[in-house]
Symmetry: C2
Subunit: 245 residues, 2 copies
Amino acid sequence: MSASGESVSGRVKPGVMFGVGVGPGDAELITLKAARLIGAAQVVAYPALPGRESLAREIAAPLLPGVFEELRIEVPMTAERAPAQAAYDAGAARIAEVLERGRDVVFLCAGDPLFYGSFMYLQARLCGRFAVRAVPGVASPMAAAAAAGLPLAARDEVLTMLPATLDDAALRERLQLCDSAAIMKVGRHLARLRALLDDMGLTARAHYVERAAMAGEVIRPLAEAPDAAPYFSMILVMKGADPWL
Amino acid sequence: MSASGESVSGRVKPGVMFGVGVGPGDAELITLKAARLIGAAQVVAYPALPGRESLAREIAAPLLPGVFEELRIEVPMTAERAPAQAAYDAGAARIAEVLERGRDVVFLCAGDPLFYGSFMYLQARLCGRFAVRAVPGVASPMAAAAAAGLPLAARDEVLTMLPATLDDAALRERLQLCDSAAIMKVGRHLARLRALLDDMGLTARAHYVERAAMAGEVIRPLAEAPDAAPYFSMILVMKGADPWL
């Protein structure tokens, strides 16, 4: 096989798509495997909101090689699914074109690629035709717990990951059935979540974590949280009473 | 300050205890930060079952420095808590003795240190007197999802981590209220879990993962799972119908 991926039969062996978790923010929280793949990449792809910096690319920036081809895949964050689906269709087609040339593609994912990541939408579109591999990463609830020094789950405890976008009734029911919870994507839902947790008597057991393992990290008891939260903020709720002693 | 940690005032500045996640099994899934701390460690501690190899030490073995002091902390796995508590008391005392000498201690944790890890029991005993820092790692559900190529959670989905030790009623109630679940520590509960998931109509959506990212990894639809499962096995239940497309 030549360097371009062309085999002796004249047909090009397709490249592999790697969905690589780059962890929560600190480039040192990238795994050795992800660092190796990123450092050797010829083609690097990543998701971005239209007109904005890509968080995944920012996190991986210190490890990127000197020269590489970039595929920026813009995905709008809209209430309807159709615009995002069209963006993933187009992104998958661009990645497929590179894979068909015999080049691997390293797709960067903030946190873990299969935990609320863009990678899964591309994987679904490409895995029938190409080899697709996920490289797991440090997920944001684990980074938030480490930054706050709080246990996520001990022994027989139940841990639930809840998107803040759920309505109060859905959140309440699920918070009642777990020992710990990570409420993700807090952003504009902060005031409503504070009222709900207060009503459930959980405020004293709730911690606000903003930008865990990133520059500008904020960790506070929920009662002392700021009035406005960015999208990448989280509330950790620990209901157990010193359960780990 | 001298190399031994003694300050000019003659008092030794205490060391720092680091709880370092070493990920699910593959040494390449250790983070750059954990690798740096492990490679430079003078004192390495880790949990082990009495008379057994320590999984955390096995995972980190390729990264350990040439010369270091080892603290093996044996913790029995018993139904009553008192024996484990006594073991953590004794382990914390041994770690405290090293920290008081001015040496840092790197405590190795399989997976993530605050997700079903021994570190939290030691942290609870030491954090009042010493600086304790957690370094998050890749948790086993993320490794299992990557190995199986299955999305854990998309968009507004709820992901729950459930210990297999819960009784059927508790598991059923919680499985009904999530979109995906990782049922951890399957071991001797496999037959009961299969019957429960079958009764709930979830067998076709359940995947058995044994030793994800370790030698001897097994990934199968639950219907084709082996008859006996080791402690480090997991069932991933994905209830959403292609929710990511």
